[in-house]
C-alpha cells in the first residue's frame, strides 16, 4: 500500500506492506536509527515518537495507520541546531548511561512536560511508567524531567 508520511518535516511516499510496523518503517525504510526497539510487547517505550502531536510507541502502530500523519523522531526534536530542553536536561543531569532507552525516554518526557503532566516528582515517576530504563535507576531521569519542566 502506498503511504505518505511526514517525518521530521520531510514528506516520504513509499509502497509498504500492510503489516509493516511504523518503527520498522522509520528505521529500515528511512534509515532513522535513533528510534530503538527494546521489546516486542510494547512495554519498554524505547521506540516512542510523536505522531500528530501525541507520544506513541512506534511498535504498536502500523505504517499504514500513519498515512498522512506528521511524525517527529528523536532526530527531529532539536530545532535549528538547538537541543530541545529535555535533551539538554538529560545531559545536564546524567539522565542516561547506555543511551538505548534515551530517545524514547526523551520523547515521552518532552510530551509529559508539554502536556503539563510533570507537576511534581511523583507525577513524573508515574508519567514515565511506559518507559523502561535498566541503567540509571531512574533517579537522574526524574531530575532531568524536573529541570526541563522548570525551563
Amino acid at each position: 500500500m502506498e503511504v505518505s508520511i511526514t517525518v521530521n518535516g520531510t514528506s516520504h511516499t513509499r509502497d509498504v506492506e500492510p503489516r509493516l510496523l511504523l518503527v520498522d518503517f522509520i528505521r529500515d525504510h528511512l534509515g532513522l536509527t535513533g528510534t530503538n526497539i527494546g521489546c516486542d510487547t510494547s512495554q519498554c517505550g524505547s521506540c516512542t515518537v510523536h505522531l500528530d502531536g501525541a507520544a506513541v510507541k512506534a511498535c504498536t502502530v502500523l505504517t499504514v495507520q500513519a498515512d498522512g500523519a506528521d511524525v517527529t523522531t528523536i532526530e527531529g526534536l532539536a530545532t535549528n541546531g538547538q537541543l530541545h530542553p529535555m535533551q539538554q536536561a538529560f545531559r545536564d543531569q546524567h539522565g542516561l548511561q547506555c543511551g538505548f532507552c534515551t530517545p524514547g525516554m526523551i520523547m515521552s518526557a518532552a510530551k509529559l512536560v508539554e502536556e503539563g503532566g510533570a507537576t511534581d516528582e511523583e507525577a513524573i515517576r508515574h508519567g514515565l511508567e511506559g518507559n523502561l530504563c535498566r541503567c540509571t535507576g531512574y533517579e537522574n531521569i526524574v531530575r532531568a524531567v524536573k529541570q526541563a519542566a522548570s525551563a
Binding site: G38, C44, R91, Q97, C98, G99, E122, I124, L128, I141
Partner: protein
C-alpha cells in the same frame, strides 16, 4: 592539586551528544549493501530428540535465500561454542555445545534451524514454515532436583547432571559447629533473573572471501575475547578477524559470552556470500540470552552466645543451564564461594558447590555475578543470628567486622582483601539514616499496628579482575591484564586507545579525565577509542567492575612514558639537562626557572615534526603500556533500607534507601552515583519483583516483558547516597570499582528490612521476589 583538577570533577559526559540526538550507532543500526537477514527457529520443548527437519516449504518462500540446520553447520567444519572459564579442582565436565542443535534440544530457545532471507519479516515467516518432528523427553529446571537419582539426564556423559563439584575450605568448620553455642540454618532460593539489557543482542557478519577476512559487528562487552573465541570456532585466523562492538546498549554481563548466533551469522555469510545480520527480539532475548543467579543454598552459621561468628557451612546447587556459557563455571565458584567471609572475621568456612546442568537457558554472569549470591547468603544469615540472639543487627555486624586495614587482610577462604574500613561506611550510613530515631518510629508504629522495617547490608566485593596468574590458576581461559596506547597528534590533541569496552559506564569521559589530569590537557582534547579490535590494543573487556581499576593502570604506565619522553625533548629544546626538567599542569620547565617552559602541545609538535630533536630519540609522542594487577580490588559499603509492609495486602512500600559506598577515589562523582543508582534498582528488583519462572515442562513462563517485572520509575524513592574514600594499593590511582556495588548490596538490605517489618507477625522466611501475594501468604501462614 587544585579544585579545578579534571580528576574528581562531575563534568558532563563527552559521549552524551550522540545519544540524546539519536545519532548513536548500535549494532542493529548498521546495515551494509546487500545485507541478508537471519532468523533462528528455536525449540518449543525443553528437552527433546530431533527426529527430522523438513525445510523444503521454507526454502520455497518469498525472499528466502537459504535454510540451514545444525548438520549444515557441522559439515562446514565449525567447532562448538566453547566454555572459556573451566574452573579447576572441581572435576569440571564440558559437554559439547553445538551452535545449532544436531540430535537433541536441551532448552526452550535452543536453536534448531536458521533462515536467511532478504528481509527480517520474510526470514521470520519462513522460520515458521520449517517442520520439525520431535520426540519429547523429560525436563528438569531446578538445580537441586537435577542432582537427584532418576532426574532427566541433560547429557549422556554428565552423570547426575553434575558439571562440577567445587569446594572451598578454611579453618576447621566441623570443630566450629561442634563448639558452637548457637547455630542458625536456612535454605535460600536465589531465584533466576533475566539481565534485560535494553538493547537486544545483534550480530552483523561480513565475509570477504577473496581476502579471507571476516568483519563482525557485535553487541559485546569484550570484542577482543569475541575475536579470540570466534577464531577457535570458525578456524579463521585471529589476525583475519575484526570485531567491532559499536555503541552497546547495556550488558550487565549478558554481553560477555560468545553466543551461537555469532557463529551462525559467520557461517551464513560464508555460505551465501552476503553480509548477514541477526537481531534478537525481546522474547528471544529472554529465551536465548544468558540468565543470572539461580542457586539453591543450604546454609548454617555457627556462633558463640555473645554473637561472635565462628563458622559458616553451605551447600549450593548452582544452575548452569543446558550448556556452559563463556564464563559460567567461574561465577558460582570463584566469584561466589571465595567471598563467603564478607566483611567479617569468620575463621572457619566450608562450602560445596554443585554446578548443575538443567534443561533451561544457560546461566552466566549477571551484574554482580556470584557476589550477590554470596552477600545475600551471608547478610541474611547474620540477620537471622541477630534475631536468634535478640541482638541489634548493627551491633552484631560491628562485633564481627574485620578491623580497618591498609596493608591487606587474609580471610579464611584464602583471599587477601586490599584495603578496608567497614566501620566507616556503617557509621556514616547510620548517621544519615538517623538509626535511633528510626527504631523509635518503628516501635511507635508497631503500637498502631503498622509494620516498619529497617534492613542492613554491609558488604565487600571482589572486583577489578584481576591478576592474570590467578586467572590461569582458576581456569579462566585468558589473561586479565589491560593495555592502553596514548598518542599525541601534532596539534597536541590526544587519542587514547584501550582494550576494555565500556557500554554505558561513561569511560569516554572518565578516561579522558585521567589523561587530562595527568598530562595537563583539556578533557575535550582527549578522544577515547574502544570497541574495534582493528583500532585498539588487546584487552579483556568490561565486566567484574574491572574497567577503570585495571585499564587505568595501563593508562598510567603509558602516561609516565609520555612524560619521560617529553622531558627528554624539553631538555633538548630548552637546552637544559634532563634531570633539571620538571612537568606540571601541562608544562615542562627548567627547575627553578618556570619561565623557561614549553607546553606539552609544543612538545607534541616538536616530537611529531622532529626537526630539532635529540639525536638518539625516536620521533613521535606515543606510548603503549600493559598493566597486570597484583591483586583484586575490594570495594565495600553499607546500605540501609526502610520499608513499611501492609499486612492486609502484603504490599511493600520502600520508603527510604541510604547507601554509603567506598569505591576509592572517584574520578567523576556524578558518574559513580549513576552507577550506584542503577545497581541499587537492579538489586531491589531481585528482592521485590524480578524472577524468571519455568513450569514443570521447562517452558519459560516469564518469556516477555509482559511477564517479567523490570522495575519502573514509580517504584522507588530518591536514594540517599554518600561515600568514604579508602584507596586501594593495587593500582596507581587507588581506584576500586563501582559498577556492581549497588546490585550486590541492595538485595539483602531490602530483604532484611521486610523481614524486620514482619518480625512481630512471626514470619521467618519469604522467597524472593517478595511479591505481595507471597508476603500475604507468609503472614497468613505465620498467624495460623
Amino acid at each position: 592539586m587544585t579544585d579545578t583538577r579534571a580528576f574528581g570533577a562531575s563534568i558532563k559526559r563527552l559521549e552524551d551528544p550522540r545519544f540524546i540526538t539519536g545519532a548513536a550507532k548500535y549494532t542493529d543500526d548498521h546495515t551494509l549493501a546487500g545485507t541478508a537477514h537471519l532468523a533462528v527457529l528455536r525449540s518449543p520443548y525443553a528437552h527433546a530428540r530431533i527426529m527430522s527437519i523438513d525445510t523444503s516449504a521454507a526454502e520455497a518462500m518469498d525472499g528466502v535465500v537459504a535454510v540451514y540446520t545444525g548438520q549444515d553447520l557441522k559439515d562446514h567444519g565449525f567447532a562448538g561454542i566453547p566454555c572459556a572459564f573451566v574452573v579447576t579442582n572441581a572435576n569440571t565436565l564440558t559437554p559439547e555445545h553445538p551452535a545449532i542443535a544436531v540430535d537433541k534440544v536441551r532448552y526452550v530457545g535452543d536453536a534448531v534451524a536458521i533462515v536467511v532471507a532478504e528481509d527480517d519479516y520474510q526470514a521470520r515467516d519462513a522460520m515458521y514454515a520449517i517442520d520439525v518432528d520431535y520426540e519429547v523427553l523429560g525436563a528438569v529446571t531446578d538445580p537441586k532436583e537435577a542432582h537427584a537419582d532418576g532426574a532427566p539426564q541433560v547429557f549422556d556423559d554428565v552423570p547426575k547432571n553434575e558439571i562440577l563439584h567445587w569446594q572451598v575450605t578454611g579453618g576447621d568448620v566441623e570443630q566450629a559447629f561442634a563448639d558452637a553455642d548457637v547455630v542458625v540454618t536456612e535454605t535460600i532460593r536465589q531465584q533466576r533473573l533475566l539481565p534485560t539489557a535494553m538493547e537486544p543482542r545483534s550480530t552483523l557478519a561480513r565475509w570477504d572471501a577473496a581476502m579471507g577476512e571476516l568483519t563482525v559487528w557485535n553487541t559485546s562487552q569484550n570484542p577482543h575475547i569475541v575475536r579470540f573465541l570466534l577464531s577457535l570456532v570458525t578456524g579463521i585466523g585471529e589476525h583475519r578477524i575484526r570485531v567491532i562492538a559499536p555503541d552497546v546498549g547495556g550488558g550487565f554481563g549478558s554481553k560477555i559470552p560468545l553466543y551461537p548466533e555469532e557463529a551462525m551469522c559467520v557461517f551464513a555469510a560464508q555460505k551465501t556470500g552476503r553480509p548477514v545480520k541477526w537481531t534478537e527480539t525481546r522474547s528471544e532475548n529472554y529465551q536465548a540470552t544468558i540468565h543470572g543467579r539461580d542457586h539453591v543454598q543450604e546454609v548454617e552459621l555457627a556462633a558463640k552466645s555473645d554473637g561472635t561468628i565462628t563458622g559458616l557451612r553451605a551447600k549450593v546447587w548452582a544452575n548452569l543451564g543446558a550448556y556452559l556459557s563463556t564464563a559460567s563455571t567461574g561465577v558460582p565458584t570463584i566469584l561466589h564461594g571465595l567471598m563467603l567471609s564478607g566483611c567479617y572475621e569468620i575463621p572457619n568456612i566450608h562450602e560445596d558447590v554443585y554446578g548443575m546442568a538443567t534443561t533451561t537457558t544457560p546461566v552466566d554472569a549477571y551484574r554482580g555475578a556470584g557476589r550477590p549470591e554470596a552477600t545475600f547468603l551471608l547478610e541474611r544469615m547474620v540477620d537471622k543470628l541477630a534475631m536468634q540472639l535478640d541482638l541489634d543487627p548493627v551491633e552484631l555486624r560491628r562485633k564481627n567486622f574485620i578491623q580497618p586495614f591498609t596493608e591487606g587482610h587474609t580471610v579464611a577462604t584464602g583471599l587477601v582483601y586490599d584495603t578496608g574500613n567497614y566501620q566507616g561506611t556503617l557509621d556514616r550510613a547510620l548517621e544519615m539514616a538517623d538509626y535511633k530515631a528510626l527504631r523509635n518510629r518503628q516501635r511507635d508504629l508497631r503500637e498502631q499496628g503498622k509494620y516498619l522495617g529497617i534492613g542492613f547490608s554491609t558488604y565487600v566485593e571482589i572486583c577489578g579482575l584481576g591478576p592474570s596468574e590467578v586467572a590461569g590458576a582458576i581456569g579462566f581461559g585468558g589473561g586479565l591484564w589491560e593495555s592502553a596506547i596514548v598518542r599525541f597528534h601534532p596539534s597536541g590533541k590526544v587519542k587514547l586507545m584501550v582494550g576494555v569496552n565500556p557500554h554505558g559506564q561513561g569511560e569516554e569521559t572518565t578516561f579522558a579525565q585521567i589523561v587530562a589530569d595527568q598530562l595537563g590537557v583539556a578533557v575535550e582534547d582527549v578522544d577515547v577509542t574502544y570497541g574495534d579490535t582493528a583500532e585498539t590494543p588487546m584487552g579483556w573487556g568490561t565486566y567484574g567492575s574491572r574497567t577503570t581499576a585495571v585499564a587505568s593502570g595501563a593508562m598510567m604506565g603509558a602516561i609516565e612514558k609520555i612524560k619521560a619522553k617529553g622531558r627528554k625533548i624539553a631538555a633538548h629544546l630548552l637546552e637544559a639537562s634532563e634531570e633539571d626538567i620538571e612537568f606540571e599542569d601541562g608544562k615542562f620547565f627548567v627547575k627553578g626557572s618556570p619561565d623557561s617552559s614549553m607546553t606539552i602541545q609544543d612538545i607534541a609538535l616538536a616530537a611529531n615534526t622532529a626537526w630539532n630533536y635529540p639525536a638518539d630519540l625516536e620521533p613521535g609522542l606515543e606510548a603503549s603500556a600493559f598493566f597486570d594487577p597484583k591483586n583484586f580490588v575490594y570495594p565495600f559499603g553499607c546500605h540501609i533500607a526502610v520499608v513499611e509492609v501492609d499486612p492486609d495486602s502484603g504490599e511493600i512500600d520502600l520508603q527510604r534507601y541510604v547507601a554509603v559506598d567506598d569505591v576509592g577515589p572517584q574520578i567523576n562523582p556524578m558518574i559513580v552515583e549513576g552507577q550506584i543508582h542503577g545497581g541499587i534498582v537492579q538489586g531491589i528488583g531481585q528482592t521485590l519483583w524480578e524472577g524468571a519462572a519455568y513450569d514443570g515442562d521447562g517452558n519459560l513462563l516469564t518469556g516477555s516483558m509482559m511477564d517479567y517485572a523490570v522495575p519502573k520509575a514509580a517504584w522507588f524513592p530518591n536514594f540517599e547516597l554518600d561515600h568514604t574514600v579508602t584507596p586501594t594499593n593495587v593500582n596507581p590511582l587507588g581506584v576500586k570499582g563501582c559498577g556492581e556495588t549497588g546490585t550486590i548490596a541492595s538485595t539483602p538490605a531490602v530483604y532484611n528490612a521486610v523481614m524486620d517489618a514482619l518480625r512481630p507477625l512471626g514470619v521467618e522466611k519469604v522467597d524472593m521476589p517478595m511479591t505481595p501475594e507471597r508476603v500475604w501468604r507468609a503472614i497468613r501462614d505465620a498467624q495460623g
